[in-house]
Symmetry: C2
Subunit: 241 residues, 2 copies
């Protein structure tokens, strides 16, 4: 059977395998994931687009920080919103360093949500708040409740990294009042919620999955990356179930 999407458990297993027996460091995978997100955004919106990159406290937010850096190098105008300060230990130190890298290239980093998200200040919102570890059962807590509310009502197009934030990783937006992103960049493989994505632009990024893992996780029917590209556009019928 053709299986092109991963459930939450398999997505976590794949991640653990890459960084365990696969020998990858988080710094490597996040660099490639964030770069692929930047490349996908560059395939949709023109240079000099003003982007608000909203970053959550985990790895999805880290992908956003990396993407913002590459987008600056590509000629875009990113602003980062990082509402929750990283910890002084563990992965928090890496996130702090990612923020330092942004400061060094003069990317503005905000810690409070702008009053309005409109065409007056930005063109696109990049949603890097929650990833495939998120569960909507716990609700969305401060300080992310404010920005999630504003993202739900903004007139601006939203580009979500891996998961539209707030969605159930497998069932999508069950309550029906969640984000409606115009773009989704799935990393390594679409998660099951991608079947409910109805936006215009769906890309696959994260070009680092070993061929034998593609087989093991039944992902061999995903479209191949072309040449040296770090992302590939997915047709809208790829993730229907």
């Amino acid at each position: 059977m053709r299986q092109l999407m991963l459930g939450q458990r398999l997505a976590q297993e794949l991640d653990v395998e890459l960084m365990g027996s696969g020998g990858f460091a988080l710094e490597q995978l996040m660099e490639l994931a964030g770069l692929s997100v930047a490349c996908a955004i560059a395939a949709v919106w023109p240079v000099a687009t003003r982007l608000l990159v909203v970053c959550g406290p985990g790895n999805n937010g880290g992908d956003g920080l990396v993407a913002a850096r590459h987008l600056l190098h590509f000629g875009y105008h990113p602003t980062v919103l990082y509402p929750k300060a990283p910890k002084d230990s563990g992965t928090g130190i890496f996130y702090k360093n990612l923020l330092t890298q942004l400061e060094k290239i003069d990317v503005p980093v905000l810690d409070t949500t702008p009053e309005t998200l409109s065409k007056d200040n930005y063109d696109v919102v990049v949603d890097a708040v929650f990833g495939f570890s998120f569960s909507p059962s716990g609700g969305i807590r401060a300080p992310f409740d404010v920005v999630m509310d504003r993202m739900k009502t903004t007139e601006l197009p939203i580009a979500s990294i891996d998961i539209p934030s707030g969605w159930d990783v497998e069932k999508g937006d069950e309550a029906g009042d969640g984000l409606r992103p115009a773009m989704l960049v799935s990393l390594t493989a679409p998660k099951l919620c991608a079947a409910h994505f109805t936006g215009e632009h769906h890309f696959l990024g994260g070009r680092f999955l070993p061929p034998n893992m593609r087989e093991k996780y039944n992902l061999t029917d995903l479209p191949p990356f072309e040449g040296t590209a770090q992302c590939v556009r997915l047709e809208s019928d790829v993730c229907r179930i």
Copy 2:
């Protein structure tokens, strides 16, 4: 004055600055450097080219290991020669993990130099032996003496990462009996020895230098990277002095 090349001291300073106050991890920079090398090679040789990637004991060798991984994903046939086993501490652990990543995608890793480097077994040799920390005054020690000798006499084209191995970082091949690479991929900026490079293909890779560092190190006249490309071809007159 237009200054497009770095001496050994400035190259080391730039590296220290990126990983010090710049906040970068070696894992990030090496991932981007290696990726840019793979992209440059893909701009010159067609898919399925058989590559022997000869990796030294330091960061230049690490760039080679990363490049080999991306080249496999791009459809090339890399074999890695890693003559000196990495240590069990410090950066050695990272190099071991880079080797693990290659084993997981079935890239052959050799520890002894093939008897011949010819069209019978390979199409191109990627030279990732020594980088900008090398000094020829110490001579080339085992186990790299054997492979360096074979690289000097091979009929195959050589693609050097950052520095043609064995060259003086600033003065080039003073003895006149060193490598004559067909390709050079300079990382972040050409080093002074690039003025003596006479091969056909010169690329700039390592797209991560903050704009203010480009100014500080007088590198603003280097050609810009286009779009989302991780490398850019340098014209042959860029590095004449």
